[in-house]
Amino acid sequence: MPKRTDLSHILVIGSGPIVIGQAAEFDYSGTQACRVLREEGFRVSLVNSNPATIMTDPEFADSTYLEPVTPEFLEQVIATERPDALLATLGGQTALNAAVELDRRGVLERYGVELIGADIEAIQRGEDRQKFKDIVRAVGGDVPRSAVCQTMDEVRECVAEIGLPVVIRPAYTMGGRGSGMAHTPEDLERMAAYGLSESPVCEVLVEESVLGWKEYELELMRDYRDNVVVVCSIENVDAMGVHTGDSVTVAPSMTLTDREYQQMRDVGIDVLREVGVDTGGCNIQFAFHPDTGRMVVIEMNPRVSRSSALASKATGFPIAKIAAKLAIGYSLDEITNDITGETPASFEPTLDYVVVKTPRFAFEKFPGADPELTTTMKSVGEAMAVGRSFVEALGKALRSMETRSLGFWTQPDPEGETVESALDALRTPHDGRLYTVERALRLGATVEQVCEASWIDPWFVDQILSLVELRAEITEAAVLDEALLRRAKRFGVSDRQIAALRPELAGEDGVRTLRHRLGVRPVFKTVDTCAAEFAARTPYHYSAYESDPAAETEVVAQRDRPKAIILGSGPNRIGQGIEFDYSCVHATLALREAGYETVMVNCNPETVSTDYDTSDRLYFEPLTFEDVLEVVHAEQESGTVGAVIVQLGGQTPLSLSRRLAAAGVPIVGTSPEAIHLAEDRGAFGDVLGAAGLPAPRYGTATSFEGAKLVAEEIGYPVLVRPSYVLGGRGMEIVYDTEHLASYITRATEVSPEHPVLVDRFLDDAIEIDVDALFDGEELYLGGVMEHIEEAGIHSGDSSCALPPITLGKADIERVRASTEAIARGVGVRGLLNVQYALAGDVLYVLEANPRASRTAPFVSKATGIPLAKAAALIMTGASIKELRARGVLRATGDGGTLPPDAPVAVKEAVLPFHRFRTPEGHGVDSLLSPEMKSTGEVMGVDAAFGMAFAKSQVAAYGPLPTSGTVFVSVANRDKRALIFPVKRLADLGFEILATSGTAEVLRRNGVPCAEVRKYSDDTGTTSGARGPGEPTIVDIILDGGVDMIINTPYGNSGPRIDGYEIRTAAVARNVPCITTVQGAAAAVHGIEASIRGDIGVRSLQQLHAAMAPAGDS
């Protein structure tokens, strides 16, 4: 059948903010879907609250709604847009849940909207554990054995049959309370008894443990004709027990025979059919017992998933794009495989390379969080690497991570490690586990010992052993000759790793010089879906080293157009996420239009930038100096490299700029020297001094004594941090000497080669964030954002409003003048982000970043100004004047001169606290600080601040309450400021609960409130009339008796334990918890707007049209 002709307008739902487990991959899939649907002539409406996405760019849909992905807002969009159909399988679990809820509420039926690409009942069959198990058994598959037990006798009987260990899961407890794994009969007695008592219905599920089994995934697709293909198999190096998102994974599967692989494929296809996934993609997980080969089905996702994005990048088979085509009525054989351009999509990709994915963690951001890897996903990003062997791909993946270790041997071994201690460490899955495997083997552990301790398959362990053997050869060889060097490179070993083993080679540069002299360079192969059976039309390349010096490189010469190479941002991590990918994608679109052949280099499989049709050429490569240099070389061999862009991918490419420039790479835009001017405190201080701009007083120190002197001189509180950081890594506000001492002890581990910076911390300042363009002549303000939280909370975690809500025209003009002075002083060509603090009417400059900022996409969405596109054009020589004339930028005015009735956009950060637990099982503190912790962001936009803020809260955390109980407990200094907002809440009918001190102040000011016991009162002295035994505020929150919390802690002086317990209880119960005065005032605005009920929806296209000055097109 050709595409459906009965539909003309399709609503696509995105996945909302980036959170752990649901990240940029859904921007990739949603963007593909929007592209496909529009190419096919459909009108596309889109809802997604995440402004950092490509899919929410106004040109990717006909109507784009940056509104919360909730049934209420979706219904409003449906009522406004009246689409014929809804596509929800490409927006992760968020979109799928929203679609199920819209169906349940009858919204789809009421508005005559057909759900395409999914079937509600199939979704439920796939997600209901018991139903799913029954389906697997019905098709002849196997599942972990289990039984529902109501007595201890039943539990014992069940375990007698299935054997230990078992997993105990009490029925109907929240957040998995009472569940765990019983390894011994004693464990079983204790845990099952506890589980039965915890379960309100006195029921536990006892399930056979598959911990340590081999773990696999299949990515499948089905069309309406019931054609099914397996796109990719993925094998987890980490065995069952580690979430697949946290595992090192390999594609294709490495240790299955055809018989077992086909068994998995057969069961997978049967399950897919029986569940009834109509059309589209799905992911099924399997476990194999390593000794018996018994195969069980674990679970399925009836939608495009994180693994689908990985599988798409790993194979060149674009799952999301094809899922969208299947949803509108195509069958697989009617869709052409883009890569070959000839063969149809009704085939299974075959790989002649190996793909390794490694997870990126952020435990350093959450001190106290338990770093053990479990079945709860904790990683915040991932890198993928492609090589011609497992070890080659592994080496590339490890050096893509941008962690301290850039592959084996690049960091000193831990002191005092022994075979025993290394093997012991391997028993607990942890970040960097393969490094431990390598050290254990090097210390003399056998493959068998490592396998026994880690449950990693011997084949993988032996592969790492081959690296240990290679290391010995490299270390012991008299000279590094061509043969050995070539062999090392074939094993994925970087110049830097070799340099670490051979100090006499004068570092990485020495190794490279030697390597180039010996003619050892990589070849570039192609990801082509078919192992070279057919010619590939799509230049999707990866580097590899072959033994044969005459091995073929597949980069095709192109000498008609100059090339622009854009360096991406690498794995997502806190502080460097999808926002940078957004800017890179825009650069490629703009430069392609400007006549360049665009070349993308990146290693993040979740992103739009690594989609093979985003740029003219794609290199899936680590963003290290060595790898980038080889790509540049390959492109220079095949044409003319006109521009290399390092400014848009965040700190990762920026940090390469000096060395690349020194190696003769033509970096465009802000020069490496200028970048240094902005990043080096001393040099930047000179720039500010010359321009007469004030900055908070600061000093640098290399020791505690030095830091103490500086702090005393400029006065506490001070902000301390290591130099050269992104995302506020290691940054803290310090209030006294004792605190400073403890910081220095911890921070010197962060970055030993850089000194510590001590800055005056500006209390009560308004923080302002500015994104601007500068071409050497003219400054173009993109947007001026006012932070809602005061200075001191990392800008990435802070919510902000654009246009600024309390700044006047004069303030903005002051910001403009300062920004221009900095741009000129530093020598910016392209984007510049400056952070200011307005305190006591002085505009202090906090920092300047001569690159695309995290806020660039938000600003573009809020103002309609294509900042990243314009920046790319400026970097390659266009002037702002020209861009104004060409209509890329507005002819008159800029983001600083928005019309007075411009809508207000609010950005809110989304935080991952609920993902982390301390080793003792408590929550981690959710307090915001100068260290960035958020994983993503949302945008709320409306006519006025209150409504926009309310939307941002709904999108990030769920709706603000419109009635109920508010608990207030604030630091002394905030009490005065909070009287009015709290009084307003009381007037709106909220019941107010407060701890004693806060209650006293509120009552004296005529705000009625009830007093509750603090958490710390529980065991301490009684407070007032309230005796022990009465519930504390933490109990009340956990019992659901509070609808919103206002809790402002203050440095070291507040009741810290109380605050921590309150905030973690709020996280556990998902109660809105506001930790700043400004946030509270904003929340009250939002609540008022919600009560009025006048929050509507407007598309970005309408908003942007309304913002354009009269006479502008």
């Binding site: 019931d226 025979t257 055809d258 692989y261 149809p344 085939f347 299974e348 011997p458 078919c530 059976e533």
Partner: protein, 385 residues
Amino acid sequence: MTRQATDTYRVNAGDRAPAALVLEDGAVYRGLSYGAQGTAFGEVVFCTGMTGYQETLTDPSYHKQIVVQTAPQIGNTGWNDEDDESSRIWVAGYVVREPARIPSNWRSRRPLQEELARQGVVGIAQVDTRTLTRHIREHGAMRAGVFSGDGLATTDEMVARVADSPSMAGADLAGEVTTSAPYVVPAEGEARFRVAAIDLGIKSNTPRMMSARGMEVHVLPATATMADVRAIEPDGVFLSNGPGDPATTAHATALTREVLDRKLPLFGICFGNQILGRALGLDTYKMRYGHRGMNIPVMDTATRRIAITAQNHGFALEGEPGARFTSPYGAATISHYCPNDDTVEGVRCHDVPAFAVQYHPEAAAGPHDAAILFDEFVALMEDAR
């Protein structure tokens, strides 16, 4: 749970002897010896399957071929006692990129290279198999030789020796791979049908799948006559896969005509498809580089449904997808084709009970999508009763 390496046999790549793969057009690929050392000649072909090297190596259809594995890591699951598709390894030579140092699989009995050496299969490793595959894709499958140990010589000498080796076009190889004597594979459970299977290079899994469907399979040598077939009193006749040029099999084609004359239900696979096609008056031709893999789509023109199939053929039938034609045995249709290149993947007769496919419903190795064809054979035999 213990997880033990099944073997500690490790070979360090650096210890291996040099080897060379030489193509008749003069292309030389250097690598290291893998398996046995010596010299081997054959037609160099690439196989894109990512699993199932054991089945591939023991598939008689690969007789006299040097197989290049495009999957880069080979030998990971070792060699087991269950997955052989015949009594021996048939490939003439074996070309891989990255051999496993140890096998890891609960069924593995020994490393692959040990089995290759034991059976005297000359292999070469560390070849840039992608460059080689692209060469074969562009220039076609051709004669080649693997040289190692004493076999190594100057490039000119090696090229000359390749030029002297026999060509695949015109090669009649069925006689070399067929069983020497008839044997019977009993039906699982009650024997509902008796099938005469002509062994032109049959794989073990074919009788196994027939047996599972209640067929008692009498496997006959390629030289079997109609009298031999009739002596069994079969409900149906099966033409197996096998190596070589279908144009050389006058005997099998004649036998097939006799089966068609008698309207005995007939099912053919791969080589069997080419023979049925020739019996129906179609021509065969040598493809540039053939279909060898496990990911190949086949379209059934009647249902418009796709099966993902295992394939291994270098010759194909002439014909247009879906075309209906008149044969000496009445109307027939090109029932299946490959949407990658529109080659013929199956023929079906309308006036006699006969059909055949170019791909492998018995899989092993490969996907099981087409297994249903054995049920169709059952239906054909039921209808004929």
